[in-house]
Amino acid sequence: MHPVSKSQSRLGAAIARWGVDPLVFGLASLIAAAILVAIVAIPQHLSTRARLEGLRAHVGEVGHIAASVVDGDLHRQLLDPANYSQELYDRALAPLVKFHSADPDIFYVYSMADRGGVPYFVLDTATSPKLRTKHELRPSQYMEKFELEEDDDGQWLRDLAAGKEYITSDFEEDDYGTFLTAHVPIYDSEGRYSGFIGVDFDMGYYLAGEARFRSIEIASLAAALLLAMLIGYFVARYHATMRRRIKELHEISIQDSLTGFYNRRGAMEIIKKALERHVGKSAVMLVDIDNLSTINDTHGHVAGDAVIARTAEAVRRSLRPGDQCSRFGDEFMIYAPDCDEAGAKLSPRGYSPS
């Protein structure tokens, strides 16, 4: 036997020891698990997405604040490398350094210029010795080209130029950690688009919080699965009880309570099936108690029932294993497989119930 099949049959045998059908238990548990896990997991997933969306909105706000501290006119001058001077760079950078130093959860604060669909770094707070940060940062140089990913179609750059903010839809990973990025347009005093600000927000504290949520999620899912197995067990128990009860009721419905033999309905069902299955010689005998109606009329039905019971005992003694007997009214019907005419003549010997 295949090892998996062997372990499955062992599992089935273990479940069967609980008095339930392993298949019913498995199916009921599976359906209950699907429903319960959906009830537990879907709200958890939606809640996780809602927390992430909340965080994205927060990062977007941080990006807007960062964009608001930049002097748009100075930044516009820096878009043209011909205007660059260290003094101009430092003046434009100073408010961003103060802003960045105030928030320890920010990795990078920088600004960029979109030159023909290619982003170039303009300002980067990591270049300033005045920046107070807990992170080790690699500064980007003025007009350092930012390499776009191969699958990046630059739509976000066009959206920024159109005045929309851009916040990455999910976490990004880099050497320095996990972060969300917000990009927000910068405008000069005349309202002209003058590049954009970028803020890489550290997700460390958020992920630590999510890890706590995850342990709650795992515990809820484990509880849901346990509950599903419990439901499966009770459903299988109920199913087994119902099957047993139906079988008992069926047995009662095909049995003659006076003799314990089959009744007419039982005879029709059992003997008909036995005849269909049997190949070879067989005999059917109808044993009729003589004058039973007279006995009933003379001695009463209690005496008549006693005669039937005594006759049934006599018939039962003559039955061989495999013979089937039924009683309807004052007649006994015996089906005897593998019995020829000679055997059928012999078998009624001793039927005399008196």
């Binding site: 029709m268 005849l275 005999a283 109808l286 001695h299 005669v307 005419e341 005399s352």
Partner: protein
């Protein structure tokens, strides 16, 4: 219990796998009716039918 009791019996047999419940019941009942008509406390064997006894001859062994 002091009541004289006897039984009458109708028998039918089938040699092959042509055993049909309704037919065999009918044949046994006919054999029983016949012996009850002849008196009580006896056994009646149904005639051998062609369906059940393809190789045997028809007859009554009552």
């Amino acid at each position: 219990m002091g009541i004289p009791l006897s039984v009458s019996i109708g028998v039918t047999t089938c040699d092959g796998d042509g055993g049909d419940f309704a037919r065999m019941h009918r044949e046994a009942e006919a054999a029983l009716r016949r012996v009850r008509g002849e008196g009580r406390n006896r056994i009646g064997i149904a005639p051998r039918s062609a369906e059940c006894h393809p190789l045997g001859s028809a007859g009554d062994a009552a």
